[in-house]
Subunit: 336 residues, 2 copies
DNA sequence: ATGAAAGCGCTAACAA
DNA sequence: TTGTTAGCGCTTTCAT
């Protein structure tokens, strides 16, 4: 004789019966509707607690045609800037009752899956793109999209999407001007081939031009990795041994540059000052003490989330584009 | 006059009509059932393509009472070891038709949410715990759980859970023995207060004992962070200036130790050799070149996934515990 | 303020 | 091999 299988999870029917009300009322209480009498609300709440009831997202999604979930596509879990972005997103999405699900473009690609399809199958109400997926992946997305942190995708492939990004060009200026202020003149730039890298490069170039100095850029076709930063710095030091300062396109490349400097018996900041970008945890490690531009990713996330909520409210409003102002965090790699 | 709102997504009804078959047949095709005639299968597939049909997970979950999704709880997105773990998990879960959703314990806690509840509301079929949540969070989870990477949670709070972890004790031995082989005798250990840290410490202690050397351990109550690693190393170098080698509980602490060494005018490996643990990207950066124990997180993930699938097949089998063997990756911090 | 009833899009017996 | 028919657990008019 089998014991009655008691582990079936309770439904609103059970809660309703237990509380002596209709299941519609339970549904109202669940969603915090105001027009419910206090005694009933209590009864329902007690029943919920007593039974250990948990609403079924699947059923609710099916009935309401909305999941109150937003999908976030990030580029690469290895690159920790997404953590701050995510924290910012959640700081406003959580209180609004939205659930956030994350996917990593690299990992999805490795599995041969289309992450956008995944989010759509899951009935996400909206998407946050914090990566630059191939344009064909983002064609005709039938739900609101906000592009966060990266700027390239916006205008071309997704004309209707909102964009919240860091002002990378300004960041590039900040880094360069800082070195200028420190008295450097032979300032070189290690770049990369990403969209943000291009903006940062432009900022560097403008400041150099305005100061009447020659811009020296290497690595515009490289990945923005530690290994490539190392290679670019090697090349730079070989071809222009007189540089006294380097602006790197991100912290990873800056750390690569450190290695190249050491190989030549040089060190930062004594021989060559180095500035990174992202203000990642890396930059804060004492051993590296890397001066870095902080894009304020958390704020970018929060602003993107606000934009998303506004878009959900008003689908027809014209696309918005916001730029978040970066700041410079000075550490040992440029000052003693 | 509004144009007929055409953006309602197609359902199996639409597909069935378009293909001239019943919706059950569509469902069968969708799930790749073998007993479907080739012409019908083609007709259905064509209709799917033509209409741009995408199955609704919500409906499918509701009807079948399973989501074919597994929830993965990781500790902290900042700590990149989870990326490899995740890649390993997906390498076997993807082909099996499972979807993986990730949550970060820190982030969830910051939102005041219970991540396990989140997974249950979402109807995950099973859970992978790659973190050490408070025991009360993991009581009475009504779906299969496999603990991955961390070992502590298993026996006590989750007697029925499967466990796949790295053999941290063996890893501690590997690191210590490597230094011994290099001729070091004054080998100290920088530890931390996590479960894995305790195992690594034990490995270190055993090898020291067997070699007839004195074990010197600092920091057993610290967080395993860069900052704490720095602090612990400072303390160590002040109290035992004669050490010639350090085994750190993880790469982060090792990098902290680098800073403490430099502050005293010492460097690795010339004055003090340093070994880390995790073989994180950090360890591979040329500027750090940190010898590190590789726990093979990817393999841990893959094995955890296999265990999960087996568990889903056979819920009543006795719990399994597997230990993955780590290996040592030698870099510049211990050898020239 | 509360209840009744009709689905949401799919799966899974069961029939045919 | 294919079609019919009940639901799955919830939301949402519409009554009352």
């Amino acid at each position: 004789m089998t014991t009655g299988d008691n582990r079936a999870r309770p439904t609103i029917y059970d809660v309703a019966r237990h509380a002596g009300v209709s299941k519609s009322l339970v549904s109202l209480v669940l969603r915090g509707e105001p027009h419910v009498s206090e005694p009933r609300r209590r009864a329902v709440q007690d029943a919920i607690d007593a039974l250990g009831y948990r609403p079924s997202r699947a059923a609710s999604a099916l009935a309401s045609q909305r999941t109150r979930s937003v999908g976030v596509l990030i580029d690469d879990f290895h690159n920790p800037w997404f953590v701050e972005l995510l924290a910012g997103l959640r700081s406003v999405l959580d209180p609004a009752g939205y659930t956030v699900t994350v996917a990593d473009l690299q990992l999805e690609a490795a599995s041969g899956r289309n992450p956008v399809d995944g989010f759509l199958a899951q009935h996400a109400d909206a998407l946050v793109l914090a990566a630059e997926p191939a344009p064909e992946l983002v064609r005709d997305i039938p739900i609101p999209v906000v592009v966060a942190g990266v700027r390239e995708l916006g205008p071309s492939a997704l004309p209707r999407a909102d964009v919240v990004a860091g002002d990378d060009e300004h960041g590039g200026e900040l880094a360069t001007r800082h070195l200028l202020d420190l008295g450097h003149h032979a300032i070189a730039h290690i770049s990369g081939r990403s969209g943000p890298a291009a903006h940062r490069r432009r900022g560097y170039e403008r400041v150099m031009r305005e100061a009447g100095l020659e811009a020296v850029v290497v690595g515009s076709t490289l990945e923005t990795t530690e290994a490539e930063g190392y290679a670019a710095a090697q090349e730079l030091l070989a071809s222009a041994p007189s540089v006294t300062a380097i602006v790197a396109s991100n912290d990873l490349m800056a750390v690569g540059a450190f290695a190249a400097l050491r190989e030549r018996g040089l060190s930062a900041p004594a021989d060559v000052a180095v500035v990174g970008y992202d203000n990642s945890p890396l930059a804060g490690y004492r051993y590296l003490a890397l001066t870095s531009v902080d894009p304020h990713s958390r704020e970018i996330g929060a602003e993107a989330a606000r934009t998303l909520l506004a878009r959900l409210e008003n689908p027809e409003a014209p696309p918005r584009r916001a730029l978040i102002d970066p700041t410079l965090v000075v550490r040992g790699s440029t000052a003693e």
